[in-house]
Each structure stands twice: as structure tokens, then as C-alpha cells.
Symmetry: C2
Subunit: 287 residues, 2 copies
């Protein structure tokens, strides 16, 4: 059975409450003409006259009255069911890793808010890799090779490591103190090998828990950190950190990941993607 559109029924219901079609149109925020057409379309679908012009106002016929009577508060029910869901419309839920959030995304948030005042980014950081298809996130930003199956991934930037330290540290040698993050312990070894150094990296090291702490330690002058260029860039630009050697690219990168299935707000995600890519190019947050 083919149901009539909500628009038509809504028009009829509004017409019952308001004295005239014009007033009803006003309450719905559309033209009188639109309402007139809605009624006409509904009448065409049902094959019944619903509104009859008496005097200079429209009056509902018995058919229309009975329709509304039987329908009851069906429209209100629908509205009640739909409203709480719609409330979350202006929000884009993003899951990402802590370092990316605090050292890349969050510093750039003011720019996003300026360009997209209607979309609030809700950033959620987790240590574990979240299962996008089962949890209620619209997208995620992940670190890896971009080969997550069943998901669409667009590369934001490749990871590139370089040794950075407080400006008063002027060189990297076998005597230097290096800062290692437990979560990315192998970074120093990888940089060492990829940059063509021989032997092992300096043995003297400070070990911290997370990469964010490694950054803090480097800023404080505790030693030399192998940091991602994207994260170090603002500090290098401001002079709070100094690059001590070559920058080497890693095969991994940072990716914006979206799930398949019905994408509930594909257009907003698309805007986010474009913005992220443009931000990834400038490599520096505003302000």
C-alpha cells in the first residue's frame, strides 16, 4: 500500500488548526501556493476532495475530517520520534589517536570552526584501534599503511621522522641523550637505519610513556627526540625546537578513514576531508 507523503498530511493538519490556508502556510514556513499544491497532490493521490472553498476561506470536507480523526496524532508521534535524533545533526564524531589529536588536530580546530561554524567536531581519542563499523563514529583518523579492508581511507600525509631538540642542543652524536616513547620505541632505530647511520643509536636515553611526553621532554631540553615532522613543524618554525639531522620518510602515514554502508552525513565528511587535506599541505596550524 502506497502511503501519502507526510508533507500533504501535515498540510491538511495545519489547515485544520489554522483558519485559512495562508495562516497555515505561515505556521509551516512555506508559501500558500506550496500548501495549495500539497493539498491538490494529496487529493489526487486519494481521489477525494479534501478542501472546499466556502466564502473566501478553505474548509475541510467530511472526508478530510475523518482522515485527520483516524490518523490522530500520528504526525506528532513521528516528530517526537525524529527530533531527538536530529539533535545530533551538527556534530561529526571523530575517533583518533591521542598524539594526532593533541599535536595536530586540536591546534587547528579554531580554523575549522571559523570555516564551518555549523559543524562541531567531537574528537574522541582511544589507545585501541576502534571498530568503525560497529561503533557510533562518523569517521576516524588512523596511523598505518592505509590498507584497512572494508573501509575507505584517504591519506592525509606520510609520516616523516627527524631528530629534534631544544635549540641549545646543537648536534646529534653518539654521546647524545635520546628520548624514546614507550609506545613508539622502535622509532629511533628506524630513523637511524633509514638515515644511513652505521652502528646503533646513542645508548643514553630517556624513556617516557607517550609521544606527546617525548615532545614535552624535547621542548624542555632533556634530549633529542625522533619526532614526526608534522608534529614538530610549529615548534621548529617558532624556534622552540631545532632540527638536528635529516628527515626520513616512513611507509606509514595518517589516514582519514570512513566506513562503508549508508554514510549518514557524507557531505559533511567530504568537507572535513577537503579541510584536512588543505591543512596537511600548509603543515602549520593558524595562530
Amino acid at each position: 500500500m502506497d502511503l501519502p507523503s507526510t508533507r500533504g498530511l501535515q498540510a491538511l493538519a495545519a489547515l485544520k488548526k489554522a483558519p485559512s490556508l495562508s495562516k497555515a502556510a505561515e505556521t509551516l514556513g512555506v508559501t500558500r501556493s506550496a500548501l495549495s499544491h500539497r493539498i491538490a497532490e494529496l487529493e489526487r493521490q486519494l481521489g477525494v476532495t479534501l478542501v472546499r472553498q466556502v466564502g473566501r476561506c478553505g474548509k475541510l470536507t467530511e472526508d478530510a475530517e475523518s482522515l485527520l480523526m483516524v490518523m490522530g496524532d500520528a504526525l506528532d508521534r513521528i516528530e517526537a520520534a525524529v527530533t531527538p535524533l536530529r539533535r545530533r545533526r551538527g556534530q561529526l564524531r571523530i575517533s583518533t589517536v591521542a598524539t594526532f589529536a593533541s599535536h595536530w588536530l586540536i591546534p587547528r580546530l579554531p580554523d575549522w570552526q571559523h570555516l564551518n561554524p555549523d559543524v562541531e567536531l567531537a574528537i574522541s581519542t582511544t589507545t585501541r584501534t576502534i571498530d568503525l563499523t560497529n561503533e557510533d563514529f562518523d569517521c576516524a583518523i588512523r596511523h598505518g599503511l592505509g590498507d584497512w579492508k572494508g573501509l575507505t581511507a584517504t591519506r592525509l600525509f606520510n609520516e616523516t621522522l627527524l631528530p629534534v631538540a631544544h635549540p641549545h642542543i646543537s648536534e646529534l652524536s653518539s654521546n647524545s641523550t635520546v628520548i624514546r616513547a614507550r609506545s613508539r620505541f622502535r622509532d629511533w632505530n628506524r630513523w637511524w637505519r633509514l638515515s644511513g647511520k652505521v652502528g646503533d643509536p646513542p645508548g643514553r636515553s630517556v624513556v617516557v610513556e607517550t609521544r606527546a611526553q617525548a615532545m614535552d621532554a624535547a621542548l624542555a631540553g632533556a634530549g633529542i627526540a625522533a619526532m614526526d615532522l608534522a608534529y614538530a613543524a610549529p615548534h621548529l618554525a617558532s624556534g622552540r625546537l631545532r632540527a638536528l639531522d635529516a628527515t626520513v620518510p616512513l611507509p606509514e602515514g595518517y589516514y582519514l578513514v570512513t566506513k562503508g554502508g549508508h554514510k549518514s552525513r557524507a557531505d559533511t565528511i567530504r568537507r572535513l576531508e577537503i579541510w584536512l587535506l588543505s591543512q596537511a599541505q600548509t603543515n602549520n596550524p593558524q595562530g
Copy 2:
């Protein structure tokens, strides 16, 4: 507040009952693809994920479940409200005068039914002129000058009077017996004058109640009737009646009259109009 379309909600409801999207589509009589798009559109409007692919079937999210829960039987209510009205869809209610119905329209009904098996004509004959704008008729066929204000009238044919009688009556003279219908008593005088005769019509007359009875009386050989050509034509063709003198046109005619306002089934009425006009040209019912 902008309500989502019934189609989308209906799709969601069907998806809850059926195990898979394909089955749901079957129950609604549309393609799987259509249902998929409906859901996607609904999700876009609400900005919420409603269906999530788990395994190889789609499963409703909590949001979708709660939506359906709050909405309750709203859709059923709408369907219940709409169904009884739709039942009258295949019917076109026509109000007309008795003579036109019995001597013109009804003999032609088989042809209409053959051409339009989906539309049943419900013919209602009344002596009084019905108020189309207030009563539940889709259209009317009226006799008159076609100047009914507020209504749209299309002429089917002009009225044309001629004297007819049983074939054994061979001439119209001042000695003839004329048949008069009380409802159209002046017809004989009008014909007499308009056909250029001098003096008065024959004084010897049989008076019956209606024009239909006048026709019967003429067929029975009771005298000469001043009959409308459109009504007499089939009898003239079959030889049961004979035309005894000139045919004179009257200013009145028969009109298909439709009301303004929202025309609940303009397309069907349009088909009726075309059919009536074609029938008016042939001037003879089939069979």
C-alpha cells in the same frame, strides 16, 4: 519542523519486520535498491546511522530501534485513515438529469466500460439542479446555456428539436395529435415558432409527465413528440421513429460541468470529457 517522508519511515519499519533488506523490499513491492536509497536518504536527513551491515544482512542501530519505538503505530494509523478514502478512487460520481441519463448516457455505458475498465461511472439523477460545490459529485451534466458561474462548463452538444412519431404516422398537420411532457411543456410552442410555422401548434395533445414518457408514447404511436435529436437519433436510425419535419436548434445545450477548487481527479474527468465529446459526435450509441 521538517518531517521525514513516509517512504523512508515505511522502509525502516519494513526492515525491522523482515530479516533482510531484500525481503522487506519485496513486501513493499519495490526494488532492494529503492529501499537502500530510502534508508540512505532518511539517514542523511536525520544525520544518524540507522542501518549497519553485520555479516551479510543489514541490522538496525539503536537509534533506529528507538525511532520506531517512539513512532509506534503512526504509519498504521495513517494507512487506516487513508484506506477507506482510497476505496472510492475508481469511481466517478456524476449528477445528471433523468432524460440524459436514460436516453443518452446509459445506452453508451458499455462503450465507456470497455474503454475504461478501471473507472466506474456512478450516475445519479435528480430533478433539482444540484449544488456541485457543496455536494460530493465529481462532475455533472446539465441542460442550459452554459453560464454557471464559478463552474467550468464544456458543451457536449446543442439541443435540437424535431417532431418524431411512429412510422405509421406520416405527416404533421393541424389535425395531428402532439405529445407534450409536463416538464418541458413549452417545447412544442418553441419548435412551432422557430421552424417558421404560423399560428398555433395542433390543439389535440396527449400530456405525459416526463420527456422519457413522451418518447415511449411516440414509440407506441400515440402521437407526435417534439424530441431532442440526440435522444431520438437511435430510434430514427432503427426505423422505430420517423422524423416528420425540420430540425431546429435551441440556444440551450448539454454541458459537462466541473467545479473549481482542487479537482480531486482531474485526469479521470478529462478522460470522461474526451469520451463524452467523441460520443456526442457519433450521435449514436454502440449496439
